[in-house]
Symmetry: C2
Subunit: 570 residues, 2 copies
């Protein structure tokens, strides 16, 4: 209390100009997200708070704001940090300078590998970081009963985080069938996090959508059509517009971005890899692209900050206003979202800020997560009774897949892939030493002529997935990942071409962001030797085991028809 009173005294003095402010941004153009006006003046910062705006102030330290525009720090409404393949400490080095002062993350990927240890690792990281990382509590580990994950989070495991102050609620409740059929474990979680439940319900409509919402779910980041988003909006759902590396909905949902809709919208990246962040940006890219495409800048900046703050009950941020958190982005070009400086909690974001952090939490518990025995080419043979085959059709830059039915080369007993039809073989191998299951199937769209690529990132159970045109190369690729304890591998004609290690849970690199970026560029280049022309082949592969997104998927237990929520014969 004593410290709080002293802080209040200090900010009241500084706001009145009785004493100099800790930091003053002089003569800056302030974008008032309340009225939509831009006005020129000073912003006085006292500690981690804004003391005054729009008047003239002097301070110990001054930033020349002329030519710059101040907007509130951006908030990523839904992100899996693991998709950037870097640790939370590196994640903030990557996105905080891009204006993302708050991110609502779901440690769902690492939780599937390591359970509550993963949640605790993220919470512990969040406590030591500069940016505000809100850690939602992963609701669906494993995501479905159709797969084998490294860990299971029981309702009790999840509910013990219900009062966690660094969390804003339950992370995306993907188990829609579980809600609709009233599975007790699912409802226990929903009851514990009543009204603070993030959603995930692609293409859900009508009464089923009503029921899902009635269970207390409040948002969805999975809208891929305007009609879908509009029904959800009508029914009170917060629409989190996503621009990930694979799933990109910003262009489709652009017409939603109006000042009228702004209170009910958010921006999120969900799964965005370091290459995209480095090359095109993060929320800064979404903001610039939306404005360039004609969206109202007031709506855009509100959505990027205030609306999402309100949605998650973060009532201390989202405006450049006295008493609010001093999370401020200074733009040299507000239409293009060109960032000159970022302030987080009143501190200038630079190398010195990151250097001032303590040590990151120890990640060693996540090492040695691949408990799979070496495999041989025989493991990948597909025996069948007919040539007709359900084939997963990938759609570039979309999470959705097609459910194709194709005739594949068939000798009456064994079924093979058909590179000439762009059909490769795909396998998912249980990697936690639990049952050694291997799911086998076929996939169209990778454009591979030879070789194989393998990944220990495979949503959401993160078993090893491998796609290839040769069983031998597939085996070699998987074995390379066992040696590296996770990561990505490229094999061609009996030779390991490249391996990018991700030793932390098979998901995260222990390298810095810049190194990971280089490694990714190198391995993407390596993939080309197989003939695969995809921009993000490993991301595209990583989402194929995800049985909560339509239409056809594959897990360690087999090929899944998502509509029927069951396995089908290959």
């Amino acid at each position: 209390m004593r410290r709080e009173l002293e802080e209040l005294e200090k900010i009241i003095d500084e706001a009145q100009g009785n004493t100099g402010a800790s930091l003053v941004i002089k003569n800056v153009s302030i974008f008032h997200l309340t009225t939509g006006e831009m006005s020129r003046g000073d912003i006085a910062v006292c500690g981690d708070r804004i003391a005054g705006v729009g008047e003239t102030y002097g301070g110990e330290r001054e930033i020349d704001g002329s030519g710059l525009t101040a907007v509130p720090g951006f908030i990523d409404a839904h992100v899996h940090v693991e998709s950037s393949m870097i640790t939370p400490f590196e994640f903030e080095r990557c996105v905080l300078p891009r204006g993302v002062t708050t991110a609502v993350c779901d440690p769902h990927e690492l939780s599937n590998v390591a359970g509550t240890k993963a949640i605790d690792f993220f919470l512990d990281s969040a406590r030591r970081m500069c940016m505000d990382l809100r850690v939602q509590i992963s609701s669906c580990v494993p995501a479905t009963p159709l797969e084998t994950a490294g860990a299971e989070l029981s309702a009790a495991d999840v509910c013990r985080y219900a009062a966690e102050p660094l969390s804003s609620g339950l992370a995306e409740l993907m188990n829609v069938p579980g809600v609709l059929s009233k599975v007790p474990e699912v409802l226990e979680k929903a009851a514990a996090f009543k009204g603070r439940i993030d959603g995930h319900c692609p293409m859900l409509v009508g009464k089923a959508l009503n029921a899902y919402l009635a269970a207390g779910v409040r948002n969805c980041h999975e809208c891929s059509t305007l009609e879908e988003a509009q029904e959800k909006l009508r029914k009170g759902m917060q629409i989190l517009i996503r621009e990930g590396s694979v799933a990109r909905n910003l262009d489709t949902l652009l017409p939603l971005i109006t000042v009228g809709n702004a209170p009910f919208l958010g921006f999120c990246t969900d799964d965005r890899n370091p290459l995209d962040i480095a090359a095109t940006g993060h929320l800064d890219y979404m903001i610039a692209h939306a404005i360039e495409s004609g969206a109202d800048p007031l709506a855009v900046y509100r959505i990027a900050s205030y609306s999402t703050a309100q949605h998650f009950g973060l009532r201390d941020r989202g405006l450049i206003a006295p008493g609010y958190k001093a999370d401020i982005v200074l733009l040299s070009d507000w239409r293009k979202c060109r960032i000159a400086h970022v302030l987080k909690n009143g501190r200038i974001v630079d190398d010195a800020l990151f250097a001032s952090r303590g040590l990151p939490p120890d990640p060693s518990a996540f090492l040695n997560s691949i408990q799979l025995q070496k495999v041989t080419a025989d493991c990948f043979k597909v025996f069948s009774k007919k040539a007709e085959t359900p084939v997963i059709g990938i759609v570039e830059l979309s999470l959705t897949t097609e459910h194709l039915e194709l005739e594949l080369p068939f000798d009456g007993r064994e079924k093979k892939c058909a590179p000439e039809l762009d059909v490769a073989k795909i396998a998912v191998l249980e990697r936690y030493g639990k049952n050694g299951g291997i799911g086998l199937g076929f996939v169209k769209g990778f454009g591979m002529k030879s070789g194989a690529i393998a990944s220990s990132v495979g949503h959401d159970s993160h078993n090893i997935c491998v796609v290839g045109t040769s069983d031998e190369d597939m085996a070699l690729a998987v074995n390379a990942l066992i040696d590296s304890q996770g990561g990505f591998a490229v094999v061609n004609r009996g030779k390991v071409v490249d391996v990018m290690p991700l030793p932390l849970g098979g998901l995260l690199s222990d390298h810095d962001f810049e190194t990971v970026e280089k490694e990714l560029l190198r391995i993407h280049e390596a993939v080309k030797v197989t003939g695969c022309p995809l921009e993000t082949p490993f991301l595209q592969l990583a989402f194929l085991p995800l049985p909560v997104i339509p239409f056809l998927r594959i897990t360690d237990r087999g090929v899944v028809d998502v509509a029927g929520f069951d396995f089908i014969e290959v």
Copy 2:
């Protein structure tokens, strides 16, 4: 937990149409406050929640919604229930049928009389009522050191309510000078309710406004000009547009009401008497009047519900959407806000609902609050050294007063009122038996030719205030209130013409709403015998002791110059 799970199972079933809903509003036009669309369909209600919207449902009980439009229940963002002169139980009988399903009240008036007993009485009432009465914790009792109140709430008294679940925060922090000069007691309260502080800062601008906001204040209902409101909006303040019985800002602030501003606006009544509620309405009147005056209906209905719900962190209400509270207003004419039915927590608001309530809390602690000895005409004599006099100029339908300087009849020793100049004498008498102080002054604008009127309602300390043209009549009027233990009195030429008793703390009637309405009409009629033409003479009188609103005021300690926040000689 068991009951919560059963409720979840039930609502999921009813939302899917697996089982009939408890209640269905059939074929109603739903005003979607998210998208602004109107669509026709059913609303299924399960218990106190909305289960489904926009689909076809069947239920145990059905309401024909054809020709009706459904909007979310209204929220009064700031109200003193005491200003309706009825108990909380009667207040909801009065406003809930008008669509006000939630009200954020400040028991400031009764707290000034009886301290924490008053807060507890409101909280206890709220627990037993049908509507949601959110009880803010009165922050300034007494409002200023310039007056004598019946009770004092220390910082400790106030802070012990900081975690009260039926409260949304600290009630209007009127002591602006206390904030700016960092009075420790004031800052302790601000620290305990950080970010949940209601404001009250008429005409505050510039750095002083910044400092007040930096202390954690979040809204203001005292804006009387557009410019004032716009600066406050720019600085992140929620503007609660007020239409009370005296202070009426709706017309002035109408241009603010746009879809763009809607997230940052609310509607409130502050102080509204039963006559206005009966004759013209409550929030329903504000809504109809705003729409009739050209405001965007989407903005208006958002402001009346969703925006205010969000502002106070009431995340379960403000939309007609699955999972939200079934607080629904069914309108026969949505432009005119004509109400056909109201549902509160899924229950139809009717006499049966009110009859189903338990007993109200015992109010007997508030009886016998007038501890004043009988007075004589001599008590009201004003002795002075000069004819020049600061005179309070009242402005009809405004809380603000003018600071006039007039020459009054003066015999070298005693100063008298001047009915021919429309100047009457005014006195405020300390009524709690603490010091027997009497403040004396002069007031212009009551239009009295003879007699006196007296009131035990006198914001905010609620000492007895009396205005008249004859010292004898003033004494008689005060003595009549001592006999009735509070209320309003009209005296003319030595005769008590009428008394309306308000025996609970001298503020509230123990009669029902309808009776209070009749009594008020009768006493307003009675006032006319004095020549006073004011529509609401007692309300106008009741606000004259309020030393937090510019410019000239009077308390039991004397005439106050609000600008200087000190007494001046009469």
